[in-house]
């Protein structure tokens, strides 16, 4: 076999493997894979320095299709494996691919701690609100009343909100997109540019077990009215600029306001500041229906990363010391048995 990796990756093709993609025809995962392969050449990473690490589920097959290093691990544990990879080699560009069940059910603990510690990596959570690979059981993000093989009378437990979970866990970057959105590469680029744990929830259409569950906001028709694409420094406008998001100062909540003649200032529409954590908390909690779906980079305010802190401490604690195990073993309270002492 010849050299499989070009030194300089220049086209999306260079990030594709020779493996046959095995998702169901029409699955949203195809669109996400294309978006990632389209984005990678623009990030300045090389395939050999890139590692995709996944857990278990439909989405977690992703690494097999990326011409990079890849590790398809076990259910829910990708964040823990990624932590070891990044601490052992901080030069690697680490991407975690996970799903709603993988990241929030069986692996919820690891997701929380990775975000809290702020490991420098990108976490792409494909949220299809269903367990696909096990044939359609409801998931921790399924809406109340979801009928599935395990909930024939409808699910009764309330769903988790991935972005609210991430922010609550201490994430310093939270973003949202959806599989077929043309804006997805832009979101991925922002996540990659963020130094630290970058959490991206990607709504993904499972055409077999949860078809079109996001159509209410993702359908192209009427999208303008139902999607709020957030951009740093720009007013939170949607519906072709005729509506916006303002602060209800009395209730300390957000509200939808009408914008007349483009005068969003008078309407009190907020300018998106990605570093405003309070507003981020409100954005992730905005209920779709009453509000549009908040998409794009909701929050981005970097803090020192876990890997940098670990390495800095390793270095400072080692400074001026030599790694002489023989000396270390001979240190402290020792005694010497002299030659000529009777032997056993």
């Amino acid at each position: 076999m010849n050299d499989m990796t070009p030194v300089k990756a220049s086209s999306p093709k260079d990030w594709e493997t020779d493996q046959e993609v095995r998702w169901c025809p029409g699955c949203g995962d195809y669109a996400i894979l294309k978006a990632v392969q389209r984005t990678m050449p623009e990030l300045g990473s090389t395939p050999e320095n890139t590692v995709f690490i996944s857990g278990i589920g439909c989405s977690s097959r992703f690494p097999y299709y990326m011409e990079t290093y890849g590790f398809h691990t076990i259910h829910g544990r990708a964040p823990a494996i990624a932590t070891g990879v990044k601490l052992a080699n901080p030069d690697l560009d680490v991407w975690i691919i996970t799903g709603d069940g993988d990241a929030l059910s069986i692996g919820g603990n690891h997701t929380m701690h990775l975000l809290r510690r702020n490991l420098d990596c990108q976490i792409m959570l494909f949220n299809n609100e269903i367990y696909g690979l096990t044939k359609g059981q409801y998931s921790p993000t399924s809406r109340v009343g979801t009928t599935s093989p395990s909930t024939p009378y409808g699910s009764v437990d309330r769903p988790a909100t991935p972005c609210a979970f991430a922010l609550g866990a201490g994430a310093r970057f939270v973003a949202r997109g959806f599989d077929v959105s043309k804006n997805l590469p832009e979101v991925l680029k922002a996540a990659h540019a963020h130094r630290g744990a970058a959490f991206i929830e990607i709504f993904q259409n499972c055409i077999v077990y949860n078809k079109d569950v996001f159509e209410d906001f993702a359908a192209p028709k009427g999208a303008e009215d139902r999607q709020l694409w957030l951009r740093n420094g720009e007013p939170m406008l949607f519906a072709k600029g005729e509506k916006g998001i303002a602060l209800d100062a009395d209730a300390l909540t957000l509200k939808v306001v009408d914008v007349v003649d483009g005068d969003w200032q008078s309407a009190g529409v907020i300018v998106h500041d990605v570093t405003n954590r309070s507003v981020a908390h409100m954005l992730v909690e905005m209920r779709f229906g009453e509000f549009p779906m908040a998409l794009g980079v909701l929050y981005d305010d970097p803090r020192p990363t876990f890997n940098d802190a670990v390495i800095a401490q390793n270095e400072s604690a080692s400074a001026g010391k030599t790694a002489d195990l023989g000396k270390l073993l001979a240190k402290g309270q020792t005694w010497t048995v002299e030659e000529g002492h009777p032997e056993t």
């Binding site: 076999m1 050299d3 499989m4 990796t5 030194v7 493997t17 493996q19 050999e48 320095n49 278990i56 690494p63 097999y64 011409e67 990079t68 290093y69 890849g70 590790f71 398809h72 691990t73 076990i74 544990r77 964040p79 823990a80 494996i81 932590t83 070891g84 990879v85 990044k86 601490l87 052992a88 080699n89 030069d91 690697l92 603990n109 690891h110 701690h113 670990v310 401490q313 390793n314 604690a317 080692s318 010391k321 790694a323 195990l325 023989g326 270390l328 073993l329 001979a330 402290g332 309270q333 020792t334 005694w335 010497t336 048995v337 030659e339 000529g340 002492h341 009777p342 032997e343 056993t344």
Partner: protein
């Protein structure tokens, strides 16, 4: 008896010579008994004695004062001859309160000495220890010698000049007691004084008070000798090869052995751990050794601990994780991943009493099945067991060697007893260990790169992410032979299962033949052990051989795969008994592997075997 505690006085003011003595310090968990025992151990080491210790403490950190379940004890057996165990029966029991007396006096040798603090034998404390009458007055201690006096009051008196509060003053009781013990065994106080000065370097008053208490206890011995049952003893230095010595616990020696192993492999080490008794000490030790290229990571749980270590191995470091039974159970699935992805990994299991939470601070050997068989699928993995704190160093080096030479996870079994027990250690000459440097694959080999191509040992190449030209994907789904692509085909799964099994079996080619520790092949009976039963088995076999019995001792380090000659060795004996601190796990494996009639000898009390129990088992098997 190893505990030949001679009683004949050879003359006033001359210490009585003794070959070996067993002392047990027992008190409330807040009384500092582990500290007292630890310092007495150091003093024994500096006196050149051989020794073995047995710290025995409750799972509760500060159990309610004075209660029976709050008793913490430390036993040491020291002697002028080879010492293999912490001793069957104490010769001297130091009891700091009624609960300590009640829970420990039963094991005291008949005629042994009780030293007790009467200051703590108040009606309230007697009641807490469930004594209806005062044991010093009701004749229940008649078969022992008793030296009971008010240690509390004497301690208070000795530290009076330092103006400590009542509570702080009484805290010096353990040093007063240690002072008395140092006098009793003719020991130098200076090393302990140096240690106290260092320990309380930031509080000279506390240092001085503790030293005063130590000196007062020592002085008390001199005075009491004249009038009571208290005698001074001297235990000569034990014969030992010349060289530099130190004391070492199992947790320390495993930590150092892992460091040595990583150095011999030429790797940095990543240690992922989660706090659990009695394994945490390894995480503590390694976290202070960052200059050795060690990253320690306290993970959010046991699963993350092993997974992070697997991630680090994947990235090119030596991944290590450590736990005890319950945590090892949680790591099981990830071990399977390391087996499937054929990455090196060392898993240290400090066994404790089970199942479930079981007995967190007590020792057991009941994870052998879990180590050898405890994973889903056919998931073979090498398993090594350490026999003593000192042996654990070499076992850790060996675990690292196998992991990197065969690209496999390896489990190193130790237990709560080995982890906490201390023994003298001749500091090893690291230059005498043969290096086993790792070679990463860094370019496309002739014929092309295949992630699951194999060398003559069936080892696959280790490729660090970041290496140009060798991009590939691995995972827990069945791999295709050579290419490592996903493959569910029937013939491929059969082939890969066979390869994984053959690879691990092949480890046997790299390990030494099984030795017979004592006696020889063909003996009438063999005592076959593994792990920390080494001490009592060795001593019991030595005694039985001295009596003329044809008995051999075989101790197995390589639990999986086993040494290639083991079957032949075992089949040479007429009888085989297998003492284990479980219900017969090695016994079952031996029967399965070699079709030999191995008979179980089991103990699951959370306490190590006594020598007498093994002796009785040998006699029983031959009768």
């Amino acid at each position: 008896m190893a505990t030949a505690f001679k009683e004949e006085n050879t003359g006033a003011h001359t210490p009585i010579h003794s070959d070996a003595v067993v002392v047990r310090f027992a008190g409330d968990s807040g009384d500092g008994m582990q500290l007292t025992g630890g310092q007495f151990t150091l003093s024994s080491a500096l006196a050149g004695n051989d020794f073995a210790t047995f710290p025995d403490f409750p799972a509760e950190i500060r159990a309610p004062q004075g209660t029976l379940f709050g008793v913490s004890a430390f036993q040491i057996n020291f002697g002028s001859q080879a010492i293999d165990t912490a001793g069957d029966q104490p010769d001297v029991l130091v009891a700091m309160n009624p609960a300590a007396l009640k829970t420990n006096v039963g094991s005291l040798r008949e005629g042994g000495l009780i030293i007790a603090d009467t200051g703590e034998f108040t009606p309230r404390n007697l009641d807490k220890a469930k004594y209806t009458t005062n044991p010093f007055e009701d004749g229940s201690l008649a078969k022992w010698k008793v030296l009971a006096f008010d240690i509390s009051a004497l301690t208070m008196e000795s530290v009076k000049p330092y103006g400590l509060g009542n509570k702080e003053a009484l805290r010096c009781k353990n040093m007063w007691t240690l002072g008395l013990a140092l006098w009793m065994f003719d020991r130098d106080r200076q090393p302990i004084i140096d240690w106290l000065n260092a320990k309380f370097a930031k509080n000279q008053i506390l240092a001085d008070a503790n030293i005063a208490a130590l000196n007062a206890g020592h002085a008390y011995g001199e005075t009491a000798e004249l009038s009571g049952p208290l005698k001074q003893y001297h235990v000569d230095a034990a014969p030992a090869p010349s060289g530099l010595y130190r004391t070492v616990t199992g947790a320390e020696s495993i930590s150092y052995g892992l460091v040595a192993g990583a150095q011999l492999a030429g790797l940095k080490m990543f240690f992922g751990g989660y706090p659990i008794t009695p394994a945490s000490a390894i995480l503590h030790h390694l976290s202070r050794l960052k200059e050795y290229g060690i990253t320690t990571f306290q993970a959010e749980d046991e699963i993350a601990a092993i997974c992070s270590a697997i991630g680090a191995s994947y990235a090119g470091q030596l991944g290590v994780t450590s736990s005890s039974g319950p945590g090892i159970a949680l790591k099981g699935e990830a071990m399977g991943l390391a087996i499937m992805t054929e990455l090196p990994l060392v898993i240290v299991n400090s066994q404790r009493g089970g199942p479930s939470t079981g007995l967190p601070t007590k020792t057991e050997q009941s994870d052998l099945y879990q180590a050898v068989y405890g994973r889903n699928g056919d998931a073979p993995m090498p398993v090594i067991a350490a026999r003593s704190p000192v042996d654990a160093f070499d076992c850790a080096v060996e675990a690292v060697r196998i992991a990197v030479e065969y690209m496999t996870p390896v489990m190193l079994l130790t237990d709560g007893y080995i982890a906490n027990a201390a023994e003298p250690w001749k500091v090893p000459d690291l230059a005498s260990y043969k290096p086993f440097p790792v070679e990463f694959l860094e370019s496309v080999p002739e014929g092309g790169f295949k992630p699951y191509a194999r060398d003559h040992k069936l080892k696959r190449p280790w490729v660090k992410p970041g290496t140009p030209g060798l991009l590939h994907r691995i995972g827990g789904i069945e791999k295709e032979v050579d290419t490592g692509h996903i493959n569910y085909a029937p013939a491929n799964h059969q082939a890969m299962t066979d390869i994984r099994s053959a690879k691990v079996n092949g480890v046997a080619d790299s390990i030494p033949d099984q030795l017979v520790e004592q006696g020889a092949k063909g003996a009438k009976i063999a005592v076959v052990g593994w792990g920390s039963t080494y001490g009592p088995i060795a001593q019991a076999v030595r005694r039985k051989r001295a009596e003329g019995l044809d008995v051999a001792h075989v101790h197995i380090r390589h639990i999986w795969p086993m040494p290639k000659n083991l079957g032949e060795v075992l089949k040479s004996f007429d009888h085989i008994i297998v003492p284990e601190m479980n219900t017969g796990q090695l016994k079952t494996v031996l029967r399965d592997q070699f079709l030999v009639d191995a008979k179980p000898v089991n103990k699951v009390s959370g306490q190590p075997f006594t020598i007498a129990e093994i002796e009785a088992a040998i006699e029983g098997a031959l009768s």
